[in-house]
Symmetry: C2
Subunit: 360 residues, 2 copies
């Protein structure tokens, strides 16, 4: 087990027609790594990838004939393996797959750029989706902002161009319309553009605006969901967002507006059986807690602020609507933060399992 | 590019001290697969894994001395590489990592079972998190229910025991307390138990109840967020959940109760600038739409039902509070479904990009 050595193995699913043999050899002090590596290799191999390999083989001739440019041909193959065709084959619908391929081949005249709007999750790189990771390996250029953890940006293809487009309440490095325009122009040059956004692109990510611009310019795009901060922080802090004893629904609200003002009306949030989650609520925290109390919520309603959730710097500050503002003020809290309000917060003490490294 | 061949490569990050050499050879018709495989291999390798390898090497002697049972030693190494120690090393905090290791070594007396409560996402296996996939390869036994796509269960370690624990409104294969008890007893036997739940475990998953039982029995557990159905369906249907022109907040509500009754009060949901998402809302759909209209919502409020979102069988039915019930009744709609209500639904026509395979 923990002896150095060499292991070589063949993926069984591919053996019948198209063996892909991988040998993993480890030298020096990395035997466990080799073992882990080997176990992780299966990630890329749905059980019946072999059928796709067979189809690829049959197509090689016709494709080389129709697509003479090697770069274009590479992209065609990549799209074939990663796209709906693979899905169809894996689902046993090979006839449909062939029809689709014929159509794609016919219209493959020039290389078109495209944009992938991808959620990068709450911080822990391990919480990236497999799809996000895959597109990160394919993109020619990556646009990211401060809500994407550096450790995640580092995982993008090494030769991909990286563009920081900022976004912070007080320092808009690039206004939203400029980001939209940049996406359109990069894709217009035929590039494959990854737009990486913290959390989920459709939950307080303004992702909708970015792809509206793309749709207007008829640029192909995909949208890939990510673990939103509420889900990530809840799981890593041991605070279920719904729970039959405490909350039958959950509501995500943003704690700040573009102009910096908090338009907060506490009387919108009186349901005691609903968990409230405020994104970017650090600055507005005192206003939010006071507003809820003034609207009639019990000042002892439990509330938690999660700092840098899911990362090694996670810290959970727990109190009530009445006490949390002072608790937070007495700590050196760093963004990003998430505010969770409701009875479910009482479960934190019992269900907490993740040890963040942050301390005072 | 699309020629058969053999490629061999070394991970640069490991070269300095601990090379792990992987050679990928492809035979027959699988050259593209080998290429893709190679690109995907980097998934498992954060940039400075080399430092972990170095630490492993230094520890080999002391660990072999303290932990004589090979199975137990294997688990120790696995936990070391996957656990907080690796995080600490990657974050450059090696001193803390060593302190932690010493403590863990000291208390490693017997093998303890543990439970991983893991969100499996909305259906597309590509939307699993890397962490979920990793734990799926480690678990000794997997408990799953009908909301987890079979294609995802198939990705678990091949020799893992699989236990179907059911859960459907009308046919409770295993009552919740029995599932809780099963988790406790399996972990009590020293097994590593993966509890796979559709979507996210803390959003309508009753995950909180399951780990409460574990906490009461002092069984170690982890909770791994998953892409919740709302995020997955929204992205794949081109319906942003928040959008500055349409919705400044979003609310997740469940469309059914355990006893089958819908306790729905439309006047809780009058905010026109909030997106409403109903989980499991198919049966209650007519009640929900009528309730909202009776409470005062505009009958023309856009509404969409997403069937089997993110899968090849995704279908999006779009209408209004007034028209959607009839539209849905005239189609053969299959669970799971998600109901999205609010102005953001109008964006679907423009932003739709994913072609599900379902048709009438």
């Amino acid at each position: 087990v923990d002896e150095p050595g060499l292991c070589s193995f063949t993926f069984p699913a591919l053996v019948d027609r198209n063996p892909v043999v991988l040998s993993v050899s480890s030298d020096g002090n990395a035997p466990m790594l080799a073992r882990l590596l080997r176990s992780r290799l299966e990630l890329m191999l749905p059980a019946n990838y072999g059928r796709i390999a067979q189809l690829l083989g049959e197509l090689r001739g016709p494709v080389a004939e129709r697509i003479t440019d090697p770069a274009q041909r590479l992209r065609f193959w990549e799209d074939l393996v990663d796209g709906p065709v693979a899905e169809l084959v894996l689902a046993g619908r090979e006839a449909e797959a062939r029809t689709h391929i014929t159509a794609v081949l016919a219209r493959t005249a020039g290389v078109r750029g495209e944009v992938w709007l991808v959620g990068a999750g709450p911080g822990d790189p391990d919480l990236l989706t497999i799809k996000a990771w895959r597109l990160m390996q394919k993109a020619d250029v990556v646009l990211y902002d401060r809500l994407v953890a550096p450790a995640i940006v580092d995982l993008c293809r090494k030769d991909a161009e990286r563009v920081y487009v900022g976004k912070r309440m007080a320092e808009h490095s690039l206004p939203q319309q400029d980001i939209n325009a940049l996406l359109v122009s990069l894709a217009g040059e035929g590039r494959r553009v990854l737009r990486l956004k913290g959390g989920d692109p459709f939950i307080f990510g303004r992702g909708g605006e970015e792809i509206e611009a793309l749709a207007e310019h008829r640029i192909p795009f995909q949208v890939v969901p990510g673990i939103t901060a509420a889900a990530g922080c809840a799981c890593y802090a041991g605070i279920p967002l719904t729970h039959r004893d405490h909350a039958r629904s959950v509501r995500f609200v943003t704690g700040h507006r573009r102009d910096g003002a908090v338009q907060f009306r506490g009387d919108d949030f009186l349901d005691e059986e609903e968990t409230l989650v405020f994104y970017m609520g650090l600055v507005a925290l005192p206003d939010i807690c006071r507003g809820l109390i003034e609207a009639g919520r019990d000042p002892t309603t439990p509330a938690a602020l999660v700092q840098q959730g899911t990362t090694a710097r996670q810290r959970v500050l727990v109190g009530s609507l009445a006490s949390l503002p002072d608790i937070v003020a007495s700590h050196d809290v760093k963004a990003p933060t998430l505010l969770i309000i409701g009875g479910v917060v009482t479960l934190h003490q019992k269900l907490s399992w993740y040890e963040g490294g942050a301390s005072d």
